[in-house]
């Protein structure tokens, strides 16, 4: 039967044949994906199975490849933000802010403290939604639907905050060079306060449902473990690396956007298995909540929400119609005739899944000469075959879910 599924030159064909000669049992091939409700995205894995055990996995990726790097070479800088939205679409504000900070580093723009704090708030909100989705879906994959229903409405509440800030919900396209496109409305702060009040009890309840749950522990402890050395060699970053016991976090290693002003812990795990990844993400949500509270407390007075950089920051629309200078700046920015230095820079931010890097080369024109996204998912997903080796089929689903591989970021 396997001859029908596999071309004879495939490496599995040889393994199957050899195994058959040894003991007469035939190994089987299972196509997991590309579209399957349990994989939460377009992932294909050709699994080589011995009964319920996985002997080998061969991931195929690229099903939603959209050539962002090529498109970016043909777009002015401010038109690249919508592309970054669509990478890790569970936490698009982090991607947006990372891209603006890359440009600010390039252009030498100093962002006012208040705008930096607002950015920190929105980035931590994004991290909360990202971890919330990952952990609650992990619950669904182990058969616990209830926890998911408890917390999922809070993603909606966060999206309402995004909506107040920038008008969009999922693909936010938020911010400008030097800050935000408009000040946050009082309504946005009101929604934020409500969220900070209502979300923690629900998250506590969610934690209680899972952390000491016998079924959940049986399904996740020692499932898909990875050692710290292996994880570093595979290029793991973010919660998946921290679950293996390495306390590397870009927010601390290279603080950006005033992260050095806040006091927060870096939760780490021990064995790097699915349960540790779950716990690290849970703990990070608490840290994110604490960072948001600190940012609100320390928020400088005033209503400054962007830097005074008329060369790069679009003027208000009424000024464009009534004011000669603003009209000129508007025209120059939209037509891409602003001065851009020739440089090569790399800027990392701590995304939902790890170090999200922007490697940008400019040649002084209106578009990047080369833009490379360091996408954490893409880099650590290559460890998946090794992590599933010897596991059960149902474990493979749980491992994929706990790694939080987002198809948009994987394929860019």
């Amino acid at each position: 039967m396997s001859e029908l599924l596999l071309p004879p030159e495939h490496r599995y064909a040889k393994i199957i044949k050899e195994q058959l000669n040894e003991d007469g049992n035939e190994l089987s091939i299972l196509n997991l994906g590309p579209t399957h409700p349990a994989t939460h995205g377009i992932f294909q894995n050709i699994l080589l199975m011995d009964g319920e055990r996985i002997l080998d996995a061969e991931p195929t990726i690229g099903y939603i490849h959209r050539a962002f790097e090529k498109i970016a070479e043909n777009r002015p800088f401010y038109q690249i933000t919508p592309l970054t939205d669509r990478m890790n679409y569970c936490s698009s504000p982090i991607n947006n802010m990372g891209w603006w900070m890359t440009l600010e580093k390039l252009l030498g723009v100093e962002v006012p403290k208040r705008a930096q704090y607002l950015r920190v708030i929105v980035m931590e909100l994004a991290r909360i939604t990202d971890h919330l989705i990952c952990n609650s879906i992990l619950g669904v994959d182990t058969g616990a639907y209830t926890g998911f229903l408890y917390v999922f409405q809070f993603r909606e509440k966060v999206y309402e905050i995004y909506e107040e800030i920038c008008g969009a919900r999922l693909t936010t396209n938020m911010g400008r060079i030097g800050g935000f496109e408009r000040d946050w409305t009082p309504k946005a702060f009101e929604l934020l306060d409500t969220f900070l009040e209502e979300f923690p009890p629900a998250w506590k309840e969610f934690e209680n449902l899972f952390e000491r749950n016998r079924i959940f522990i049986d399904r996740t402890v020692n499932v898909g473990p990875i050692t710290a050395e292996k994880a570093m060699s595979y290029g793991f970053t973010g919660p998946n690396l921290r679950a293996a016991g390495v306390d590397y976090d870009v927010r601390v290693a290279q603080p950006y956007s005033s992260y050095e002003d806040f006091d927060f812990k870096i939760p780490v795990g021990k064995s790097g298995d699915t349960y540790d990844r779950f716990c690290v993400r849970n703990a990070e949500v608490w840290e994110s909540l604490s960072i948001i509270r600190q940012a609100l407390d320390k928020m400088p007075e005033g209503n400054e929400y962007h830097a005074e950089v008329p060369d790069y920051y679009l003027p208000p629309k009424e000024d464009v119609y009534n004011n000669m200078e603003s009209l000129i700046y508007h025209f120059k920015i939209v037509m891409g005739e602003v001065p851009v230095p020739v440089a090569e820079i790399y800027h990392p931010v701590e995304g939902g899944n790890g170090e999200l890097g922007f490697y940008l080369i400019t040649d002084g024109s209106r578009t990047p000469y080369r833009l490379h996204f360091r996408r954490p998912c893409f880099i650590y997903y290559q460890a998946y075959p090794e992590m599933t080796k010897g596991a059960l089929l149902s474990d493979a689903i749980v491992i994929l879910s706990s790694l939080n591989v987002i198809a948009g970021e994987l394929d860019a």
Partner: protein, 173 residues
């Protein structure tokens, strides 16, 4: 004590002489160029030296410079990170435009496997010794390498998006 640029430079020059050159601090990252045929030796040295300890490969990508002379038309960039001292370096190496090939890092960093496959997919570099050098994001049947500058973003036959009507030419867009 933090790892100084000069310390890195001295160690590398002492070991590899003229194969490493053009050291400079570019904004917040220390960068230099290396000769392509020495890439594995230099990166292995940077990883294993007890003082340098650049143990993490952050990123690897290709660049196309069609304007350069033929032996420098492509470049591979490695970003390494030392977490102990929190020091990043950028290594650039130029390779030939007609026959781009360079040794693989997949024996040094497991993560370079897919990064090199992605670079191959986009630029067609031959990573010598790579265990599975085939396309990763694009389909296997594709014959061209889309990130090369000569590859058009859109169908060249389109007439509805003529840049001349917007006052743009090839040079200013």
């Amino acid at each position: 004590m933090a790892l100084e640029n000069t310390a890195i430079q001295e160690k590398l020059v002492a070991t590899f002489a003229e194969d490493v050159f053009n050291f400079q601090q570019e904004r917040d990252i220390f960068s230099f160029e290396i000769n392509a045929h020495k890439n594995t030796a230099i990166i292995l040295f940077l990883k294993n030296d007890p003082d340098l300890r650049f143990h993490f490969l952050t990123d690897l990508c290709g660049i196309h410079y069609p304007e350069n002379p033929v032996e420098k038309q492509f470049a591979v960039v490695y970003l390494l990170h030392n977490w102990y001292e929190n020091k990043r370096i950028k290594i650039k190496t130029f390779i030939n435009g007609e026959n781009p090939e360079i040794k693989t890092l997949s024996n040094i960093f497991l993560s370079s496997n897919w990064m090199e496959r992605e670079t191959y997919d986009f630029y067609g570099f031959n990573f010598i010794g790579h265990p599975q050098l085939k396309r990763i994001l694009n389909m296997d049947e594709m014959t061209s390498f889309p990130m090369r500058k000569e590859f058009p973003l859109e169908d060249g036959g389109r007439t509805d998006k003529d840049d001349r009507f917007f006052g743009r030419t090839i040079d200013n867009c």
